[in-house]
Amino acid sequence: MSNKLLLKNSKVEGIKTFEVYRKHGGYVSAEKALKMSPDEILEEVKTSGLRGRGGAGFPTGMKWSFLAKPEGIPRYLVVNADESEPGTFKDRYLMEYIPHILIEGILISSYCLGANTSYIYIRGEYSWIPDILEKAIEEAKANGFLGKNIKNTGYDLEIYVQRGAGAYVCGEETALLESLEGKRGNPRLKPPFPAVKGLYQCPTVVNNVETVASIPSIIEITGAEYAKLGVGRSTGTKLISACGNLNKPGVYEIDFNLSVEEFIYSEEYCGGIPNGKKLKACIPGGSSVPIVPARLLLKTAEGEPRLMNYESLSVGGFETGTMLGSGGFIVLDEDQCVVRHTMTLARFYNHESCGQCTPCREGTGWLYKILKKIEEGRGTYEDIDLLWDVQRKIEGNTICPLGDAASWPVAAAIRHFRDEFEWHINNPECLTRNYGIADYAQV
């Protein structure tokens, strides 16, 4: 049975309301934190080893410690709720069903950072969720946990929700800040980093929803206890949003020592693959991380069981491993076509490129067009080499990581499924789509 921190009360009726959340221990961590000094809270977060849950996995305590603190200039906490990575829908679950855990997390984090204003920047399409968050903010305010002189500490905090308008790139922290300032979501060159010059050129911390929502648990059980829950540098617990070809897709909170095999097949989690089909491949960390075939997903190249944590999933580098990323776990069964799936991802990245960097603006279009050509049976062997060449020219050559995100899925698909690309070149019909990979293997 998994340890539950974030989702421990998720099934409690009415947990969305302040009253019920409070009855189940809500805001006790906030009260505890408000009696601590900001430095003590920072120390707890550092000790916890919490890594940013948005995908990059950067240590949260370290990120907070970079925040510049010049006198007379406001500081901001901006919550990144622009969850737009295909396969990732865990933050939506938290905001939709347990909004107060985020509000409490923002209160503790902002107090620690010395921020008096926090903005939650949420993807525009989640257009019913701001109402839920705003109601939670009102309730917290009515009960003295937001506003002026919170719980007689002399500390003031206001939280505002801002909707984006449909741009994946705004999940990148500097693009998000540009968008929050009312501009196109074009990522900024770094340095300066947001910790020095962020929102309105003021020191700013940008953290993902799940990261901030993890803070109350750290204060409740202490950073040291939180760290013990994990494995190595993967501490605490993690939300995984599982989708694709699974019997029980959904959002799960997992321990980092859980094996990938157990996650996919056990009844406690995804319950296996529909209709007893075989596992073909998986993208375990959201669409931008490398796809891996079943043989390298369940066990590493060395034959060790693959675990659901940052280190184990990346064993072997991109040659034989992948990344935990945001925890967007996409499963492909034996009947799925990797070429077609990769093509839809390439179309996504082409659509979402902000157009600022030439390799990304032009390259993502090339990737999509070449993949479409191959998928439709009009490709040549040279096209596979061209795909490889184009993705190499995008990777690492853009201001923000969208270029890498567009490049890695294509590179991994060619690396592990080149024979499927070749099949498409020789045969106009997609064999896996029509006959299944089992038949394909016998051809």
Binding site: P86, Q162, L180, E181, P249, I330, T344
Partner: protein, 176 residues
């Protein structure tokens, strides 16, 4: 269009209710940073003026926020949720990326095209429906799905599409 708003002969004015909302939004940001309100105000404008943004509406938003019209145009054209041309009363935004594709979104899109006799991006002749494929809407575990107005419709099947379209035609579906 909201009954209390004005949009004629290039004169555009929000309703009183919306203007109150605009002022409340501007107050969220520090003094002089009212441009931050641009995206939320464009959402209000689109909702108030028939689901799309034309030049007079964008110019009006610019005047409300004391910014130049070009600052509004460049934002409005960047974000996919803002429509730059008229759309139907119900915009069917069907997700077609990765996980939704794995669960049959292509077939759902084809079915809607056939049923409504429109192509992607087109609006039905009666002005009721626009079909707009979307790139990932964060409902991957509940695929295939589509968004209509403010709400998500998940685990779509052909039967469910029939039901939703009937509800739209009868005016019995929530979009806001």
């Amino acid at each position: 269009m909201d009954a209390n708003s004005v949009k004629s002969n290039n004169v555009v004015v929000f309703s009183e209710e919306t203007l109150t909302k605009v002022n409340k939004i501007i107050a969220r940001y520090p003094e002089g940073k009212q441009k931050s309100a641009l995206i939320p105000v464009l959402h209000l404008a689109q909702k108030e003026f028939d689901g799309w943004l034309d030049v007079p509406v964008m110019d009006y938003v610019a005047s409300l926020l004391s910014i130049t019209p070009i600052e509004v145009y460049e934002v409005a054209t960047f974000y996919t949720m803002f429509n730059m041309q008229p759309v139907g009363k119900y915009v069917l935004e069907v997700c077609r990326t990765g996980p939704c594709m794995l669960n049959g979104s292509d077939q759902i899109i084809e079915y809607i095209k056939e049923k409504l006799q429109i192509k992607e991006g087109e609006t039905t002749q009666d002005g009721l429906f626009t079909l707009k494929p979307a790139e990932c809407l964060g409902a991957c575990g509940y695929a295939p799905m589509m968004q209509i107005g403010k709400f998500y419709h998940e685990h779509l099947t052909k039967e469910k599409i029939n039901e939703i379209i009937d509800l739209c035609r009868a005016g019995n579906i929530a979009i806001d």
